[in-house]
Symmetry: C2
Subunit: 306 residues, 2 copies
DNA sequence: CGTCCGGGATACCCTAAAGGTATGCAGGAG
DNA sequence: CTCCTGCATACCTTTAGGGTATCCCGGACG
C-alpha cells in the first residue's frame, strides 16, 4: 500500500494545474525529465494513466481528475499536521481562537473570560480575522477554534451550536415590501441582494433567503465589505438584505425598515473545531462556551439545544 | 513547507504505538537506526521533540500526541486517494454503493433502478455490508456512496437526508410501560437496552433514546446482531428497544407491544458520500435519490426537506 | 561493586533512487 | 522543408535512506 510520496503528489498537482510538464517542473524547482518520470511512476503504480498525452496538449484523465481532488486533501492534511504539531510543541499550550470582527469578537471575549477563570485553563489568543477566513484558518491548523456564523462551509469541521437568532429583511422605506409586517422567502425572490467579497454560491443563496426551498434566483447586487456598508446600500435603495435581529436593533435608520421573514433559516452562531480528536484544552473551551450559552443566552438570541 | 514524507509518518506512527523504537523498526521492516534517525529528522524539522526519551522508556510529548492524530488523518487520506484513483481508472465508471442488509438494501435497489433508467447512468454495484461498516467503506474509498441510517459517525462525510421516520419503543407485554399509549425518553432511563456489536458510546445513547437531553444512562443489555434477534430479546423481557416504525409494523408479535416515544429523535435514512468534490455520476445518483424521495416517500416515512 | 542486558544513539559504508544534462522524436506552424 | 514546442529516453552524478557494528547509559542482579 506504499502508493506514493507527498513529493510526487505535489509534482502531480503542479502538472495537473499547469497542464504542461515543463512549466510544472520549473514551478517545482526541478527539471522536466524527473517530473515526467515521477508521473509515469505514479501511473505505473496506480495502474491507470493520469494524463491524456496529445502531442501538443496534456489533459487529465478521469483518474487524474480524481487524484487531483484527493491529492489536495492529502497535502492539506499534511500541512495542517505540521502546523498543529509545531504549535503543540510550544511549551504551555496556547489556544488560538478566531472570530470575525463585530459581535462575534465580543461574544468570544466573554467565553474566553469564563474559560480563563477555570482551573487549568490554557492561555487563549483571540485572532480577529476577515469575514469568511475563519473556516480556512481552522482547516489549515492556524487556529484551534473558531467562532463563526452561518453561512459557512462545514466541510472538515465539527460544529457546536451556541445560539441561533431570527433573521429579518432590511428594506428601503420606499420599497413595495416596506409596508408589510411579515414576509416569506418567496416574496424576496428576484430582488437584488448585496454580494460579499468571498461569497460562494451557497453563501449568496443564504444571504438572500434562497437556501430554503423557495424558487427564483437572487439578483446580483452591489459588493459590500461590512455591515455598515450593507445597511448603507439598503438605505440607498440599491438592494434588500437579510440580517440577524441584533444587527437590525443596533442599526436603526430612518431610511430602512426591518421586517421579519417567517421562513428564513435562522442565523446561527457556532463554535467550530477541526474534525478528529481534540486536545483537552479545546474540549474544555467548547464545554465552557456551551455551558455559558445554556445558562444565559445573550440578548436577542436563543441558546441551541446540545 | 516540505515538512515530511509519508514514509516518515508511518515510521512515527509505528513508534508512537509501540513506544519502542526497535519493535517499531521491526514492524516497518527496517532496522532500528534508520528509524531513530527518521524520527530525529522529523523532530529537527518540526523544531519540537516528539518523544520523551527516558532511559528505559519512551513516551509521547504533547506535540507527539498531536502528530499521532494528524498523521492518522494524512495516511488515511493518502490511502483513500490511491483507492479512489485506482477505481476511477477502470474504464466505464462503476458506482459502488453500500447499504446495510434489510430495508436499506431494498430502498437502494429502487434508487439504483431509477438511476439506471437515466441517460448516461454509470453501472452501479450494490455492496451489502455489515451494520456500521458503511461509513468506514466510504472513508476508505471502497465505496462511492452509502445508504445509511442514524446513528452514524458523520465525520468526513457529506450527508443528504432522504427520509425520516418516527421511532417507537418495543416493550415486552408484561412490562410496567406496556400499558402506556405514549412515552417520553425520560421514562426509558435506567432500562436495559440491547447492545450492537460495533456500538459506540454515541450509538448506544441513540438506540436507548438518551441522545436527547434526557438524564440517566442506559443500562447494558444483551448483545444482538440483527433485528430479529433484537425483537426476540425484547420478547423475552431482557430489554427494551427503540426501533423505527417500519420495523415495528413488520414484526408484530404477541409478546411485544410498540409504544410511540414522543421526544425520541427520528430515525433518519440518508445517502452519504465522502466530503469534497464529487464525480458527476455521484452527483447524479444523489439527485436521483432526492427526487425519488421528494416525489413518493416510501411507506411510513416522511421525505426530508433538502 | 562489577557485570550483564535492554534500548536508543553514533559511525561508517553501500546501494537505490532522485535529480541534472543532452538528446530523441513527433506534430503543428510557417 | 524547417523550426519550434513539448514529452520521452539515455546516461551520469549526487544524495539520502538503509544496513552492520559499536557505543553509551541506566537498571537489575548476584
Amino acid at each position: 500500500m506504499q502508493e506514493f510520496d507527498l513529493r510526487e503528489l505535489r509534482y502531480f498537482l503542479a502538472a495537473a494545474e499547469e497542464l504542461n510538464f515543463s512549466r510544472a517542473a520549473e514551478r517545482m524547482g526541478i527539471s522536466q525529465p524527473p517530473l515526467s518520470r515521477a508521473i509515469r511512476r505514479m501511473e505505473r503504480r496506480l495502474g491507470a494513466p493520469l494524463f491524456h498525452r496529445g502531442h501538443n496538449s496534456v489533459r487529465l484523465t478521469a483518474a487524474g481528475e480524481t487524484l487531483r481532488n484527493e491529492a489536495h486533501k492529502v497535502l492539506e492534511a499534511a500541512a495542517a499536521a505540521s502546523r498543529r504539531t509545531r504549535r503543540a510543541g510550544r511549551t504551555a499550550t496556547v489556544l488560538t481562537v478566531t472570530a470575525a470582527p463585530g459581535r462575534s469578537t465580543e461574544l468570544l471575549r466573554r467565553i474566553a473570560g469564563a474559560y480563563a477563570a477555570l482551573p487549568g485553563a490554557a492561555r487563549t489568543d483571540i485572532a480577529v480575522t476577515g469575514y469568511c477566513a475563519q473556516a480556512a484558518a481552522l482547516r489549515s491548523g492556524e487556529a484551534d477554534l473558531a467562532l463563526l456564523s452561518t453561512p459557512f462551509d462545514e466541510e472538515g469541521l465539527r460544529v457546536h451550536g451556541l445560539c441561533s437568532e431570527e433573521r429579518v429583511a432590511a428594506v428601503p422605506v420606499g420599497h413595495r415590501l416596506a409596508r408589510r409586517t411579515r414576509l416569506h422567502c418567496a416574496d424576496l425572490s428576484g430582488e437584488p441582494f448585496p454580494a460579499w467579497p468571498a461569497d460562494t454560491e451557497a453563501g449568496r443563496r443564504y444571504w438572500s433567503g434562497q437556501d430554503r426551498a423557495g424558487g427564483g434566483r437572487p439578483a446580483e447586487g452591489p459588493l459590500v465589505h461590512d455591515i455598515s456598508q450593507l445597511i448603507e446600500v439598503v438605505g440607498l435603495g440599491q438592494a434588500l438584505a437579510l440580517v440577524p435581529r441584533h444587527i437590525a436593533e443596533r442599526n436603526p435608520r430612518p431610511d430602512v425598515v426591518y421586517v421579519p421573514v417567517a421562513d428564513a433559516s435562522p442565523y446561527r452562531t457556532v463554535l467550530a473545531r477541526p474534525e478528529g480528536p481534540a486536545e483537552p484544552a479545546v474540549e474544555l473551551f467548547v464545554r465552557t462556551a456551551a455551558d455559558l450559552f445554556a445558562a444565559v443566552a445573550p440578548a436577542g438570541a436563543v441558546a441551541e439545544p446540545a
